[in-house]
């Protein structure tokens, strides 16, 4: 088996182009997501329809403008103007305060703000909402402290509660870790096994006394190591380029990642048992693993915004659970108690895939 693993490493090192891709990809992806495709907004233009014009609304507007994210384009006085503001195209968001805002908030503990977004760019709209909500939420906290009043409630939902600095790279790192571990582990193993089938060397391996699990482990080990190295590279980048610390236990993070890598490898083997050519293996990995990981795991699009059927579908995506775990450890700094359910789900999935792949691994050719 040692020889098998050695041979596998030789394949990897001889094919230096793939090596470059394997190790270059995490770098490029993290840097791209971190710098170029950043979701941070600066100078988003907003308009305000203040039906109350009291001290609280003025303070909130002040807060928003001084955050540096927003520029107050104009104050409007009439509901009918909203459409006009948007058609002129510059304004991304209109903030509507209900009348008698301060009074309702302080005496009743409850007041409403309506955010109206230019949704022609849904992604930006989404982010602008989050930023606005974040700032308003922090204002209401301050308000409570200053005036020592009973909890007040400004009715806006905050989605980025655990990302207080509102930096999108924090949201992307867990996603990138997931995608890359999946890609390297599942896709590379499935390709390397189908390559042996295509070249005819699988025939020679099958007639040898090697047991299926030996072949599988021999195939899997090198990619496990590679994935692990990739993980470390991403974490180092996150820490030193984007100043993003790991809030929770690093050991726990590595252990959970190892579990996820194991699951991806098992998936890769499963894919290789049903594909005949390298091309099939690659396409299958892409469509069956990568796309759902990117689209359905909550990496880019929030799961709660999806139609019900896709939400159900996202439950069977292992990556969804892993992203939750990584976010918990990296951003919230929570321990295993908070995500033992997710961990258990991945363990069960891993077992299932390992059993399936060993069972389906063919000891014959037809």
């Amino acid at each position: 088996m040692k020889a098998f693993i050695k041979k596998e490493f030789l394949h990897i090192f001889r094919d230096y182009r793939s090596m470059v891709i394997l190790f270059g990809m995490p770098l490029v992806m993290v840097l791209l997501f971190g710098f170029a495709i950043t979701n941070d907004i600066t100078n988003a233009r907003i308009a305000v329809l203040d039906n109350s014009k009291d001290v609280v609304t003025r303070q909130i507007i002040q807060k928003l403008v001084s955050s540096g994210y927003f520029i107050l384009e104009n104050n409007i006085t009439n509901q009918n103007e909203i459409e006009n503001v948007f058609t002129r195209g510059k304004v991304k968001e209109v903030i509507v305060f209900e009348s008698d805002f301060a009074n309702k908030l302080i005496t009743g503990g409850n007041a409403n703000i309506q955010l109206i977004l230019d949704a022609s760019d849904p992604n930006t709209a989404n982010i602008v909402t989050s930023y606005t909500s974040g700032i308003i939420a922090s204002y209401s906290m301050e308000l409570m402290k200053q005036r020592s009043i009973a909890p007040v409630n400004i009715n806006i939902e905050s989605r980025m509660y655990y990302n207080p600095e509102l930096k999108s790279v924090y949201m992307f790192v867990p996603g990138i870790i997931t995608v890359l571990l999946m890609l390297v582990s599942a896709m590379m193993t499935s390709i390397s096994i189908t390559r042996e089938k295509e070249m005819g060397t699988m025939e020679a391996l099958l007639v040898s006394p090697l047991k299926p699990f030996q072949i599988i482990i021999g195939k899997v080990m090198p990619y496990m190591v590679l994935s692990f190295i990739n993980l470390v590279v991403i974490l180092i980048l996150a820490r030193f380029v984007f100043m993003m610390p790991v809030a929770g236990s690093l050991t726990l993070l590595l252990a959970e990642s190892l579990l996820f890598i194991l699951m991806s490898l098992a998936l890769g083997i499963l894919i290789s048992t049903i594909s005949r050519t390298q091309q099939q293996a690659m396409l299958l990995s892409m469509f069956a693993l990568m796309l759902p990981t990117i689209l359905l795991s909550g990496f880019i699009f929030p799961i709660e915004n999806m139609p019900a059927i896709l939400q159900y579908l996202s439950h069977i995506m292992p990556s969804k659970w892993f992203i939750i775990i990584v976010k918990n450890i990296m951003l919230k700094g929570t321990g295993i108690l908070y995500f033992w359910k997710e961990t258990l789900i991945i363990i069960v999935m891993t077992m299932f895939f390992i059993v399936m792949s060993i069972k389906k691994f063919k000891i014959r050719l037809d």
Binding site: K2, A3, F4, K7, L10, H11, R14, D15, M199, G200, T201, E203, A204, L205, L206, V207, S208, P209, L210, I363, R364, L365, D366
Partner: protein
């Protein structure tokens, strides 16, 4: 493991395509046995059944006391198999390939060096070269070394000489003879009919059937009818003119001459008829000689009978 091979009523079909039709064959321990036939005859399928890589649709195969389906693990441990496709890692060097194949059989190059020495010394100068950069003949030798490295009692070689030049082919067969002297049972398939004479016994195969199984000499001896080699000044058109002859079973080019088989008893009478016909067609330098058939002549005759039977059946 004794390496007597007993193949009983073996058939194999892939969906509707029949690859093997009711094969019965016995191969003795220590024999150098050749399976001879063109691509698509079913040679590879039969070998894959023997190495337990493919399950027969019907029938049984025993190697010694072992059933290839039930005892496949033992069978695989004692068999050296060289698949028809180039089954080496082209990105690994000669040495790395050998070491790898040795280690998966829990042995080492050193341990069995004697066994492959004869072959290995020919490729040793290139041991640091990647397998993918070797010439055809060298690749075959490396593949054979890999198949032999665990000292199997039975080696199965699927078309080891296909696409290899005549000299390398000759050297390869010399190696096989040496292996046989060590007591191994060797099963080789080849599309080159002239290699039949180098085997102890051969099976001629076509369309999933065995046309004949015997010693090469016996197959040649059982050739029915008389065979003549004809040549004349214009070889291009000679074939079509010979095809117009009466009393003639088969006409085909064979090297520098054209082989024809007669349908009648008297050879002299036949030669005269042929000569007369060719003279009337305007040929010069006519030569018609009775000749001894070789395996390829037998194969062609057997194929002819086969097609006739098929036509009759339809």
């Amino acid at each position: 493991m004794s390496a007597d091979i007993n193949i009983t009523n073996v058939s194999k079909s892939y969906n509707e395509v029949v690859a093997l039709k009711n094969i019965n064959l016995t191969i003795d321990n220590g024999e150098l046995f050749g399976l001879i036939g063109p691509d698509g005859a079913g040679k590879t399928t039969l070998f894959r059944i023997l190495t337990s890589l493919v399950l027969p649709t019907d029938g049984e195969v025993h190697i010694g006391e072992l059933d290839v389906v039930k005892d496949y693990k033992k069978v695989r441990r004692n068999t050296g198999y060289m698949p028809g496709r180039f089954s080496l890692y082209s990105d690994l060097t000669v040495e790395e390939n050998l070491n790898f194949y040795a280690s998966i059989f829990n042995t080492s190059l050193k341990e069995n060096y004697d066994l492959i020495k004869d072959i290995y010394i020919q490729i040793e100068p290139y041991k640091k070269r990647r397998a993918g950069d070797l010439s055809g003949g060298m690749k075959q030798k490396l593949a054979l070394s890999c198949a032999l490295i665990h000292s199997p009692q039975l080696i199965i070689l699927d078309e080891p000489t296909t696409g290899v030049d005549a000299v390398s082919r000759m050297e390869f067969w010399e190696l096989l003879k040496k292996m046989q002297k060590r007591g191994m049972t060797i099963l080789v398939s080849t599309p080159y009919m002239d290699e039949a004479a180098l085997c102890d016994r051969v099976a001629l195969m076509q369309n999933g059937k065995l046309l004949a199984v015997d010693k090469p000499q016996n197959i040649v001896n059982s050739y029915k009818g008389s065979l003549f080699a004809v040549s004349a000044n214009n070889m291009h058109s000679l074939l079509s003119d010979l095809e117009k002859l009466d009393n003639t079973k088969q006409v085909f080019r064979f090297g520098e001459t054209i082989h024809i088989t007669s349908n009648i008893e008297s050879d002299n009478q036949y030669i005269e008829e042929v000569n007369k016909h060719l003279v009337s067609c305007g040929y010069n330098n006519i030569s018609i000689k009775k000749t001894n058939p070789v395996i390829e002549d037998c194969f062609l005759a057997l194929m002819d009978i086969e097609t006739e039977d098929k036509d009759k059946a339809e």
